[in-house]
C-alpha cells in the first residue's frame, strides 16, 4: 500500500482490527470481488470503522452497475482529499481552501433554557460517536453566549456518517445558577442521540430544556 493508504486506513482504526473484525473484512472483500468483479473502494477518512463495515455490507447487496458508480465516486473523493492535503490542508480540519473543495456539512448545537427564558451562562456538552460498540467521546465544549455552540462542533472530513450523542449537563447548569430543585433533579444529564446519514448536509441540534421537560429536533 502507498503511504497515503496506510495513513488513511489508520485514521479509521483499520490498522487495529480484532481477529474477528479482520475475518469479517476478509470475507466481505472476497464476497464483494466475487459479486462485482472489482475490489471494494471507500474513502475511509469519511467514515468511522463501524461506518465502513455498514457501508461494506450495504454496498455488497447493490447491483454491479450501481457499485461501479459508487466506486468511481469514492475514487474522486479520495483524490480530492489527497490533493487538498498536498496543498497543505489537513483533511481533518476545516479551512477556507478545503471548504472550496469539500462539501460543507457541519454539526451545530443550540440549547435554550425555557425555564429562565434564555440560556444564562455556559451549558457543558460532551460530543460522542458510536464506534466499536461504544460511544467514544470526541470532544467536550461549553456553549457560548445564548446557549449556542461556538462555530461548528464537527465539520469537513471530521464530520462522518454515524450515530452521535450529545450529553448535556443540565443538572450542573441549574446547580450553577442556584435554581431550587428537588434532589436528585428530574432532568440531569441528558443524552441526545441522533444519526447522521449524510454529513454533507448541515445538522443543527436544537434542544429546548427546563427542569421538568425537554425536546430536541433537527433544526436548521
Amino acid at each position: 500500500m502507498t503511504d497515503s493508504s496506510v495513513a488513511e486506513q489508520a485514521s479509521a482504526g483499520l490498522d487495529q482490527l480484532t481477529q474477528a473484525e479482520m475475518a469479517t473484512l476478509t470475507r466481505l472483500n472476497a464476497a464483494y470481488r466475487d459479486r462485482h468483479g472489482f475490489p471494494f473502494i471507500i474513502a475511509v477518512r469519511r467514515y468511522t470503522k463501524d461506518g465502513i463495515f455498514r457501508e461494506f455490507t450495504r454496498r455488497l447487496g447493490n447491483d454491479s452497475e450501481t457499485e461501479l458508480d459508487a466506486a468511481l465516486g469514492q475514487i474522486s473523493e479520495i483524490t480530492r482529499m489527497r490533493l487538498s492535503k498536498l496543498f497543505g490542508e489537513s483533511p481533518d480540519d476545516s479551512g477556507a481552501a478545503q471548504a472550496a473543495v469539500l462539501p460543507t456539512g457541519r454539526l451545530t448545537f443550540h440549547g435554550i433554557d425555557t425555564f429562565h427564558g434564555e440560556t444564562i451562562g455556559p451549558l457543558n456538552v460532551d460530543v460522542s460517536i458510536f464506534d466499536g460498540g461504544n460511544y467514544r467521546t470526541l470532544r467536550s465544549f461549553a456553549t457560548a453566549a445564548n446557549g449556542r455552540s461556538d462555530g461548528a462542533l464537527l465539520e469537513g472530513a471530521a464530520f462522518k456518517p454515524g450515530r452521535y450523542e450529545l450529553l448535556v449537563h443540565v443538572g450542573d447548569y441549574y446547580a450553577m445558577l442556584g435554581t431550587t430543585l428537588p434532589e436528585p433533579p428530574f432532568v440531569s444529564t441528558v443524552p441526545l442521540r441522533f444519526g447522521v446519514a449524510d454529513p454533507r448536509e448541515r445538522h443543527h441540534i436544537a434542544f429546548l430544556f427546563g427542569p421538568w421537560s425537554y425536546a430536541y429536533y433537527r433544526g436548521s
Binding site: P182, E183, G195, Y214
Partner: protein, 117 residues
C-alpha cells in the same frame, strides 16, 4: 397515585404510538439494569405500570424508546442511520410518594418528554 407510567404519541399522525417497544432500566451503582421490555398498547400506554408504587425508590431511571423500528413498521422511508433510532430518556425520582408520568411525543425528526400527570 404514585409509581412510573409512560405514554407514546406519534406527532406525525396525532395517534397513539401503538406497538412501540420500550425498555425500562434503573441505575444500580454505575450500571443500567434492564428491568423490563414492553410495547405500547392501543392507547399508546402500557398495560401494566412501568414501575409500581411499592417498587419505586429515589433514584435514576431510563426509558428507551425504539423510535426507528416503530416508524419503519409504519412504512416510513428513513435514512440509514436514521435521525432518531433508540431514544433514551433518563430521569430521576426524588419523591416516590408522587406519580411520575413520563410521556414521549415523537416524529422521525423530533422528540419531547416531560413530567406529566
Amino acid at each position: 397515585m404514585a409509581g412510573i407510567t409512560t405514554h407514546v404519541l406519534n406527532t406525525v399522525t396525532g395517534k397513539p404510538g401503538t406497538g412501540m417497544r420500550i425498555d425500562f432500566s434503573m441505575l444500580e451503582g454505575d450500571t443500567w439494569r434492564l428491568v423490563k421490555s414492553v410495547h405500547a398498547n392501543a392507547d399508546g400506554r402500557t398495560d401494566e405500570m412501568i414501575l409500581a408504587p411499592e417498587h419505586t425508590r429515589v433514584g435514576q431511571y431510563e426509558l428507551l424508546f425504539y423510535v426507528d423500528e416503530y416508524f419503519r413498521a409504519q412504512g416510513m422511508a428513513l435514512p440509514d442511520p436514521p435521525f432518531l433510532d433508540q431514544v433514551p430518556v433518563r430521569f430521576s425520582v426524588s419523591d416516590p410518594r408522587r406519580h411520575y408520568h413520563v410521556p414521549m411525543l415523537v416524529s422521525a425528526w423530533s422528540c419531547a418528554t416531560y413530567r406529566g400527570s
